[in-house]
Symmetry: C2
Subunit: 343 residues, 2 copies
């Protein structure tokens, strides 16, 4: 094998006294090739260890059979599961995945998006970073006629396909469950309120209180802490209130729920008897703590599959009609009741 150059379609053509046209046709399963010729070409290509140059093919065809994915963090359970779900579907269709992580930084997110546009990806799937509310880079994607799909954390005002969790509904269900268990002063640990997801979870909480005829107590609603230390501090303060909560809905995630559990245990507050705890996202560890933690499963893998499928559905029946569908697919998360909320 020549150390520098790869075998091309021309090399095969030359060897067989044919033209590149025919070789290309045979290789791409075009019907207009004599069956014998095709077999010969296929055989020769294999012998010569021919590998098509996707770059050239994509350039010519004007599409890349590639989907770009931008997430805040690749190594975060929820996101890596979504990615795995996307991959499972796209792989079947012969699509590739280019993955970027924004690290929750707006600037990096913008750069990722630009790279993906330059790469001529056919579709960009994104869960926006916590930072910033300027979405011109996403508008840019749309302007370049690249299908944009948002998931989980979405920018509301952009008209794109959106795949989200029914956060409000699930949160409401969780809080109602706690009310049903007899908890009356239920506190909320909010996630960052610039994100839709967390605003919805808060809405669900408020709604559940309202439905149950319970008052909304301001001092029981605690803003999300930036660091683990600050979070611990906030929980400690909350539990030391003259009139402390008898339950906490850690709406951000299970890690904050775990933080609550640790603080409670340290102070000597009994869970679930004196304090109920509910987390969010069904991390593996929630089933093995003692007590095990009630939480909400987001069906992350499913979500990934839904995202990919919705892209292909779009493709398949896009008969020249409007390319940017503004449709929201909502996945209903599942409340998983464990010991931490069962009085």
């Amino acid at each position: 094998m020549n150390p520098k150059k790869r075998v091309t379609i021309y090399d095969i053509a030359r060897k067989l006294n044919l033209t590149a046209s025919s070789v290309s046709r045979a290789l791409s399963n075009n019907k207009n090739v004599n069956e014998n010729t095709r077999q010969l070409i296929l055989k020769t290509a294999a012998e010569m260890k021919y590998k098509p140059n996707t770059l050239a093919s994509n350039l010519r065809k004007g599409k890349s059979q590639t989907i770009g994915v931008v997430v805040p963090r690749i190594n975060q359970n929820f996101f890596s599961n979504v990615i795995a779900g996307i991959e499972a579907v796209t792989y079947q269709r012969g699509y590739n995945l280019v993955i970027c992580q924004s690290n929750e930084l707006h600037d990096k997110e913008v750069q990722c998006i630009n790279t993906l546009i330059n790469q001529h990806v056919d579709c960009i799937v994104i869960s926006v970073s916590a930072e910033g509310s300027d979405y011109t880079h996403l508008q840019n994607v749309i302007d370049h006629h690249i299908q944009l799909i948002q998931f989980d954390r979405v920018a509301d005002n952009l008209e794109t396909l959106k795949v989200i969790n029914a956060n409000e509904q699930a949160s409401m269900e969780a809080v109602l469950h706690m009310v049903g268990q007899g908890y009356k002063r239920i506190a909320l640990l909010e996630g960052p309120q610039n994100l839709h997801v967390f605003r919805e979870r808060k809405a669900g909480y408020l709604n559940a209180l309202k439905t149950s005829g319970l008052p909304v107590i301001d001092e029981l609603i605690v803003a999300n802490a930036k660091t683990k230390e600050l979070g611990t501090e906030a929980v400690r303060k909350l539990l030391s209130l003259p009139n402390p909560p008898d339950a906490i809905f850690a709406s951000r995630d299970d890690f904050s729920a775990l933080g609550v559990l640790e603080v409670a245990t340290a102070i000597g507050i009994k869970v679930p008897d004196e304090l109920g705890i509910c987390g969010y996202s069904n991390e593996d560890f929630t089933s093995i703590t003692s007590p095990s933690i009630t939480t909400i499963d987001q069906y992350s893998m499913e979500m990934g599959k839904t995202i990919a499928n919705s892209y292909f559905d779009q493709m398949d029946n896009k008969m020249g009609n409007s390319s940017n569908v503004n449709k929201t697919i909502s996945i209903k998360p599942k409340l998983i009741i464990r010991t931490s909320t069962q009085k």
Copy 2:
């Protein structure tokens, strides 16, 4: 903006009465452009919302500034951390990551590799699947002059860059620690022995016994179970032996260690007093079980960074010399001693 076509270098040239050559030079920071011309071009490009076509550029340059990554599972802590580490470094250099998962299937792994070769990636990073020992697809990568880097699970006989954990050393340390705690009948739960990683961990176990003058007891070495159920069954059998082990090194991973803990607790065997348990990989949950589980941290994020850096090091000082370095970088994992092994 024209609904179909993007702005190209020619569009800019036409607008400014220049040629594509100059525009290309200005955009790529080539020195041979008049400073004023460059500024004008840059300004115009921005105004016209020009986005370079990476596909065309890469085709012309014969490289893609892309690194392909193949792992058994994207959504597995260790791998997603390694990927995050790789990304952190490659991003700085303006490289993209194409991610595939083999699902531990040899055939899918082969397909992933072929796709990456076709994509003209500059480098392929792989941790091989558990299945199969035929590595012709990897040889293929080398034959196509694509830099191949193996990590964690590596095919020994291929001459490539390898980044691995010092599994044997770490395992030995773990078992010696258990011996030091007074455990005398230490069992081993093996990982699949067709993989180097797990053979090494076993070697470390055997070595530790030898060093400590403890006998190797065949019935205490249990093969890796395919499913969770079979694993539970195997552990139950192990613990019901007439002469049961007083410690178990779950060398496969923390999940199998957790399985042991669950079975032991269910049977009523006290950990760590009656049974010591050590896992592998320092999953988040190991610090919060009760008792917390002794384990081994693999520095997965670090590993990813090391992989990416070793690629660039290679690139940077490859002055036409041998392209396939057969070098192994070993990362020393860290034994994390927790309650489950402290008598």
